[in-house]
Symmetry: C2
Subunit: 395 residues, 2 copies
């Protein structure tokens, strides 16, 4: 029996152009997109290694770190979470997860598979964790690893006090993993100063790079711990001692670990170059201003932010309550159909309850904020009107 | 202390154009490269899911399979090996690795980390495994999983008799994993007919797609086994039940698992479309013809193939012995410097001993074969001449 070639592949590729203002990916700039049509390079060619070095320096800057063990995992943002936990965890280590949305639970699932003894500390619904809650959990569980997302994209919550958590971790001989996938570039993050042991971010959010390469960095302290493990990390593909060797992190000869995608490297390199040219502080400032303008506009429209406590709001992914009686999906569909604009619904604990509006990278401009507000309003009014008409037609 | 933006990122991106005739990546066509500068799409957008469906159908065709569980892992070829083993292995399972180069050893390292009881069956140096050797090893070890690379790119060895190995596996209630990263498209492979349980290939070899997405397929038998596992697979990122749900493999609603790179999807989709348009049999035939012409040319140049037994030679990655007294690195450097042509050295067991000449995808044409032969000869003669001159100058 022979499997025939599929008919669908006889059609030509169709890719519409959209404005991506959900929780990510955000749009890539023309510079990034054009870079990715460059010819591919071998994964050990000097020009490829040179670009990897450039990317590495760019990551050090955006993380504000001098860590040698700074590199990318060849995979989606999730693979950063995997690599962080895989390298730190040995069987039966107590891993404490900070929860203010779905990402802590996801990290818990991952950690449990690596053999960890998993504990949780959960914030009240719609709030970030307080330092008191975290301190109490540390005293109770005495964790070996503590995980927290600086920005939880499922709820739009910003976890502050990372610096104080860093101090707490040192006190308990615990390793601090901070997920900055959705937050980096939209809020301050100082990896070294705050004593963060592992951080990883998304390439496709404020950076405006392509998805598929995940910047990650390990502190010297974490690296020493990893070198002293009793067992090898459970996944060869995520073994940071090997990947770091390929990325030239340890001053030893480069050794082939896997075939990196040169295409994605070009895109990420250009995204980082643009980011660095703008300057970290300016980028953060711009994201803050955009989010403030959006929050003001949301209020003016008579809508409400999901996160009540203002300082707990993540500037990059803004969660807005779906008004009573409105079907979020119809609103999102309207925006997409009429304007090719992505406004997203909730995820995990916020499903059905919120819109998530991403203001990231290319889409973090005041102009885009005004656009999304205007379209959101039009969409909601139109859906409400339609609902009224349907009701009336029943009478 | 502040980390300043790196100076290297103020320079513009530099990507030379090369002819990649090492063991991969091979060159992408202009069609594939251009596709990758399309705007990015959200990972749950219908147009993205549509492209994933098209890619899935393309993979089924090139693997000659009807398996529902056909998808991509978002990672390099190595992540295919990880996913295959991660999903099949539970603690203390006996995993038997067929060795005819370095890939069996690599799979062994990975399997051991997943808790497997790892055994090896090794071919004589420079040869593929015989069926007798494999049968004996099965009788001795009674493995739960058997791994073999159809093409070992480190040695240029082709493992035949996959169909017979498939029968043997059924007999022993064993799952058959075949790595076709370097072989698919260059030699026949019939996943269903040969009773292969898991197969994965590289996107950047004969397919001529970008690196970073790895096509993989699981048989119904393997899937049933995975569903009956006592423990979850150790890696969330490689959990094929979850990834398959995202890829729409099981007839259940699509659930977000990770953010796929739409950029790489475009490239892979176009590569598959081109491959399907040419037709699998024609592609294989062309690769065979190219390799035969190369082998003839190598003989005519007075050089020797590394693999003595002709039927054991892999058509895609051709290992040629480095002539006595010649430094392979100087030859490779000459070809690269003067012609921007990549000819590779050995890997693992063949380091220093062989050149590896890749004839894959865009570079599997008779014209390219003649080109590489001519440049290889010129480079070797030039290096020899230089050596003689150096010797003379010493007199």
């Amino acid at each position: 029996m022979e499997v025939p070639p599929p008919l669908v592949l006889k059609r030509s590729l169709f890719v519409p152009s959209k404005t991506l203002m959900g929780p990510g990916p955000s749009n890539c700039s023309q510079r990034v997109l054009e870079a990715m049509s460059n010819p591919v390079l071998g994964h050990m060619h000097p020009e490829c290694l040179q670009i990897m070095d450039e990317v590495k320096e760019g990551i050090k800057y955006i993380f504000q770190t001098l860590n040698d063990a700074t590199m990318c995992i060849s995979g989606a943002g999730h693979s950063g979470m995997e690599a962080a936990l895989c390298n730190l965890i040995e069987d039966n280590d107590v891993v404490l997860l900070g929860i203010s949305g779905m990402w802590g639970h996801r990290a818990g699932d991952i950690a449990r598979r690596y053999g960890a003894d998993v504990r949780f500390v959960e914030a009240s619904f719609g709030r970030a964790l307080t330092l008191e809650e975290i301190r109490f959990a540390f005293a109770t569980h005495k964790p070996r690893v503590f995980f927290v997302a600086q920005g939880d994209s499922s709820t739009g919550i910003l976890q502050r006090h990372i610096s104080e958590i860093g101090d707490l971790c040192r006190q308990y001989d615990c390793y601090l993993v901070v997920d900055v996938v959705a937050s980096l570039g939209g809020t301050h993050f100082l990896m070294d100063e705050w004593k963060v042991d592992v951080a990883y971010t998304g390439s496709q959010k404020t950076l405006g790079g392509p998805a598929g390469l995940t910047p990650i960095s390990f502190s010297k302290r974490a690296l020493t711990h990893i070198k002293q493990r009793k067992t090898k990390p459970k996944v060869y593909y995520f073994d940071v001692l090997l990947i770091g060797q390929y990325w030239g992190c340890y001053g030893t000869p480069r050794i082939y670990h896997h075939t990196i995608s040169s295409t994605l490297l070009y895109g990420l390199r250009e995204a980082l170059a643009h980011f660095c040219a703008m300057g970290l502080k300016n980028v953060v400032q711009r994201h803050l201003e955009c989010s403030q303008r959006l929050q003001l506009g949301i209020e003016e429209l008579g809508l409400e932010m999901f996160v009540q406590h203002e300082p707990d709001r993540l500037p990059t992914v803004n969660a807005v309550k779906v008004p009573f009686g409105v079907d979020w999906r119809k609103v999102a569909d309207y925006a997409m159909r009429k304007y090719n604009l992505e406004i997203s619904g909730g995820l995990g604990p916020t499903v059905e309850h919120v819109f998530r509006i991403g203001l990231m990278g290319e889409n973090a401009t005041l102009e885009k904020v005004d656009m999304v507000l205007s379209i959101l309003n039009e969409a909601i009014q139109s859906i409400k009107l339609r609902a009224i008409k349907t009701e009336r037609s029943k009478i």
